[in-house]
């Protein structure tokens, strides 16, 4: 139910007085309301839940977490790591 998926903002427009967008979820495009992310702009990635953007994805934070996790996985003594 609280499933929310990241998508990319492709088009921004107004409807019934609300700021709306076309959002691309890896090929599937759906409408979403941008009222809760007023700073959102074209090309931004946003988390959509029941047709509303609830959060903008922070690229720097994403890269930083991935770097930390890569460092952990390189440190861990994994006998199979040579395969990958």
């Amino acid at each position: 139910m609280c499933l929310a998926v990241p998508g990319k903002i492709m088009e921004v427009y107004g409807s019934n007085g609300l700021r709306m967008a076309k959002v691309d979820f890896g090929g599937v495009v759906r409408e979403a309301c941008l009222e809760y992310v007023p700073e959102a702009k074209l090309g931004d990635y946003t988390v959509i839940h029941v047709g509303f953007a609830i959060s903008l994805l922070n690229e720097e934070e994403a890269q930083e977490s991935l770097e930390t996790l890569r460092a952990i996985s390189e440190l861990s003594p994994d006998p199979e790591s040579s395969e990958g």
Binding site: M1, C2, L3, A4, V5, P6, K8, N16, G17, L18, F25, G26, R30, E31, A32, C33, E35, Y36, V37, P38, Y45, V47, H49, V50, G51, F52, I54, S55, L57, N58, E59, E61, A62, E64, S65, L66, L69, R70, I72, S73, E74, L75, S76, P77, D78, E80, S81, G84
Partner: protein, 372 residues
């Protein structure tokens, strides 16, 4: 898909699991709050990849599961009225009330429609001015901004034929109810990432401190979950009890202030009953008096609702982390996703439904066939 596929990288997940194995020295019970996380954990088999010291128990964070039976019975009664178009998120349609479900109301002629967003319900109300359009506004904090916006839109557009049947619940009071129970065995929480995307995680610091439990804001992909569990285990092993954020790409400490403002404008805190658990004081939201003209409970008189729950179901103990689905004698026999007896089997995100879907024990007949 960006922001998804990176977090399904098997090598990184393995690395995080190795790190958990390296850090853990004692047995710990960790609860993931959110049903979406339960589903992801069981689907990817993460709980089976963890060292045996870590016991993951599944929390009450499935709004479809915990919507109280009387509210479902009320929905069924309203949806059966001839003047009503009843709109709902798809997950609610097969949730059984005391007798029927919304699917069977539709089969007997009721106008029940699935909507993807509450704004779809608004559009239906605009297109059907001669009908009463009711939206079943269920959910946790994640869904509240959308549900609240539907009320503000109805007001702005002057829609007199739109109302909401509200069943909003909140995570922090449920955490306190679990931690305050004398039977509690939860030692750390993975907090629900998308609830925190809306609300932030400032509410969790005081809970972590008061009950001495680590609380780690966690996302939904396998790597997010492994990272959340690693954060919890590191705190447990070092005797720290703070709220930390393992989902920083989507969550900030303060959360979405704009959304919180709209929630506060439309809703106010109230007591809520949780299916399988019972009444938790001030654990949800109801409409503020200024919006009571949009309250379906006030608009439609459907008489006294007297719900009847199955006496066999142990979902209350499952939702509070005391038991797991396989401990229930009815699991997979008397209780299945087609004929659920209670909260945790009714929604695909419920713990029992997830276990049934991904781990269903081989039927005796099938087992005999295979051995023969």
């Amino acid at each position: 898909m960006k922001h998804v596929s990176e977090y399904r990288d098997a090598r990184l997940v393995k690395g995080a699991l190795e790190e958990i194995r390296r850090v853990v020295t004692k047995p710990w019970v960790v609860m993931e709050i959110c049903g979406g996380q339960t589903h992801a954990i069981v689907r990817h088999g993460l709980d089976r990849l963890l060292p045996s010291e870590i016991n993951l128990v599944h929390g009450p964070g499935c709004p479809v599961c915990v919507t109280p039976l009387e509210q479902i019975d009320r929905a069924l009664a309203i949806a059966s009225l001839p003047e009503v178009i009843f709109t709902s998120y798809g997950d609610m349609l097969r949730v059984p009330g005391s007798g029927a479900d919304l699917f069977s109301v539709r089969a007997s002629g009721g106008d029940v429609r699935v909507v993807y967003s509450p704004l779809d319900a608004i559009r239906i109300a605009q297109e059907n001015p001669e009908k009463e359009v009711v939206f079943f506004a269920i959910g946790f904090e994640t869904t509240a901004p959308a549900n609240a916006m539907s009320v503000l839109q109805a007001e702005a557009l002057g829609l007199r034929n739109f109302s909401v049947l509200v069943s909003q619940v909140c995570v922090p009071p449920a955490m306190r109810a679990i931690l305050g129970s004398p039977d509690n065995r939860v030692q750390a929480f993975l907090a629900a990432g998308h609830v925190c995307a809306v609300m932030g995680y400032w509410e969790y610091g005081p809970i972590a401190e008061e009950y001495r439990v680590p609380i780690v804001v966690t996302g939904f992909e396998p790597l997010d979950l492994a990272q959340g569990i690693l954060g919890a285990v590191r705190q447990l092993e070092s005797g720290r009890f703070v709220a930390e954020n393992a989902y920083p790409r989507a969550v900030t400490l303060e959360g979405n202030r704009t959304a919180q403002g709209v929630i506060r404008r439309v809703f106010m805190a109230c007591d809520r009953k949780w299916r399988g658990i019972g009444l938790i004081p001030m654990s949800g939201w109801g409409l503020r008096p200024a919006f009571e003209t949009f309250d379906a409970e006030k608009r439609f008189d459907v008489g006294q609702i007297q719900p009847e729950e199955s006496p066999v179901c142990i979902s209350g103990q499952i939702l509070t982390g005391l038991k797991k689905p396989e401990h229930c004698p009815a699991f997979g026999t008397a209780c299945t996703p087609e004929h659920p007896l209670g909260a945790t089997m009714v929604s695909s995100e419920g713990a029992c439904a997830a276990y049934y879907r991904y781990r269903h024990i081989v039927e005796p007949a099938a087992a005999t066939q295979r051995s023969g």
